[in-house]
Amino acid sequence: MRARVAGRWALTAVGAAITALYLFPIYWMYASSLKSPAELFRSPPTLFPSAIDLAAYTWIFTRENVLRYLANSFLLAGTTTFVTLALAIPCAYAMSRLRSRWVDGALLGVMLAQVLPPALMVTPIFIMFRQLGLTNSYEGVILALVTKSLPFAIVVLRPAFLLVPQELEEAARVDGCTRLGALFRVILPAARTAIVVCAILVFLMTYGEYVYAASLLSRIAMQPATVGLYAFIGAEISDWNNIMAFASAFVTPVIILFILMQRLIVQGMTAGAIK
């Protein structure tokens, strides 16, 4: 018994080492954001900031209005995730239950829909959205973002629905459920792991998206944080302090959200295994 406990803690140690090694570049980003401009470029570099310098944060919060950028990011990513799932869940479910050449064709189409990088997609999308009066509106950007996330969600959710035993669904229907009723009462709970993970990934994917938001929204007050961040990264002059501070401010709320939601995610991840 004691050996087993020790073994489990040994695994924790290994896991912690892997995580620390993996997260080092992110630590480096945080550490750099807190250094003074002089220390930032010290050679050899310092592993820990010798003194905490918040000048870069003061700048990005006061002059760059990071909070407004972040609020816009959350609004865009949240709505996009919702719309994506609303479209993807029924589609992926139906594709997992149908068996015909049409579905194979549709799946091929869904795969192909992801090939072009946004940099090549955005010009034609802009032309189309201008005709529809969707430029400079959140609706337009959300639609564009859904073009990126919807095919992804379908591909991820379809195998998850395949794993839900058809017997469960049949049992529900014998009990008098409609197919849609069975989808909501049986299938979705059974596949919630995959749905939660898919939602997280879509959210993060959208949160980090730059191209569509930058091209479709020209008004600064509407733009998400990636646009503000890339303004520093893509500047003629590499202003490291501000880049690192902005990037840290960009990631932090998501990490906090993650920690707050950890319980929910863990439940989702293990629930499937217990069933």
Binding site: P25, I26, P90, R99, G109, A119, L120, R179, I255, M269
Partner: protein, 311 residues
């Protein structure tokens, strides 16, 4: 697919039978998303395809009726001395990335699925790598890998492992490996989290039965885990392939395709042609080529899921 009848009303007679493809609700459910995809993704795709057969300049990019030139753009691109090197770089970059991301992702997913304190937390933290926009990752890694003043070289030299700095990004022999490393770092959490979800969904009773039968860890992995996980594994592999093929920012931010085009891949070249050389048509030809490549991958995927076991 077009028949959009009202949802099937369950009758006692029908619920007894297995659901059939004639059920009109299912095609309707597929149709919603599919129409969206056809309208909003089909148009940009057609736009790019059309450009690849036209003469496109800054002067006529606003028009739709542009001179048709047949396969001229395709011939010019194939004749370009960069064509084969870029294709080779792309294959190396994509294959190495997909293999490493899926294997490391699977390894990490299985490791963190074990029952030990903090496992779920750590798995969640690792996903943080995937939150950062790729251009930020490129900037941070470029700095870490710098020849003089870069933290990795300082560490290597401090530990006495090398007397002179290693030119990770600026040596033609190591640049591709360095951008690949960075992209694997970026992409692995994505594979890991999807595979974690897939693993968590596997029916546990099968494993318990196998354990009672005395099957070893390796046997359980190859005989049960892998076959059961196959649909997810295939989907993840396919997604990783597509996302690596279109990955642009990491390489762009770290090397810009250099040194001497040793890290130039299809999306980078396409961007250079379209937006640096204003050669929009050849940029579009590359997009079409990427399509052709993905059709191959997707056909393989669809072929393999055809033989997939249904619950």
């Amino acid at each position: 697919m077009g028949s959009s009848a009202s949802p099937a009303v369950p009758s006692p007679a029908r619920t007894r039978t297995r659901f059939t493809d004639s059920d009109a609700l299912l095609p309707t459910l597929v149709a919603g998303a599919l129409i969206f995809i056809i309208v909003f993704i089909g148009y940009p795709v057609a736009y790019n395809l059309a450009m690849s057969f036209q003469e496109v300049t800054l002067g006529n990019i606003r028009d739709f009726a542009r001179p048709f030139v047949g396969l001229e753009n395709y011939q010019a691109l194939v004749a370009d001395p960069l064509f084969w090197p870029v294709l080779r770089n792309t294959s190396i970059f994509v294959i190495t990335n997909v293999v490493l991301q899926v294997l490391l992702g699977l390894g990490l997913a299985m490791f963190f699925l074990q029952d030990f304190p903090g496992a779920a937390w750590m798995r969640g933290m690792i996903l943080a790598g995937w939150i950062l926009p790729p251009l930020v990752i490129a900037a941070v890694f470029k700095w870490l890998f710098a020849s003089n003043g870069g933290l990795i070289n300082e560490a290597l030299m401090g530990a006495g492992l090398t007397a002179q700095p290693v030119n990770f990004l600026s040596d033609t022999a190591t640049a591709m490996a360095t951008v690949t490393f960075t992209n694997v770092w970026f992409g692995t959490p994505f594979a890991m989290i999807l595979l974690s979800a897939g693993l968590a969904n596997l029916p546990r009773d099968v494993f318990e039965a196998a354990q009672i039968d005395g099957a070893g860890t390796l046997t359980r992995f190859t005989r049960i885990t892998v076959p059961l996980l196959m649909p997810t594994l295939l989907a993840v592999t396919c997604l990783c392939t597509i996302y690596t093929l279109r990955a642009f920012d990491v390489i762009w931010g770290m090397t810009g395709g250099g040194p001497a085009n040793t890290t130039n891949v299809l999306p980078v070249w396409s961007f250079q042609l379209s937006f640096q050389q204003f050669n929009f048509a050849q940029g579009a030809v590359i997009a079409t080529m990427m399509f052709a490549l993905v059709i191959l991958v997707a056909l393989l995927y669809i072929r393999s899921i055809r033989s997939e076991l249904r619950a």
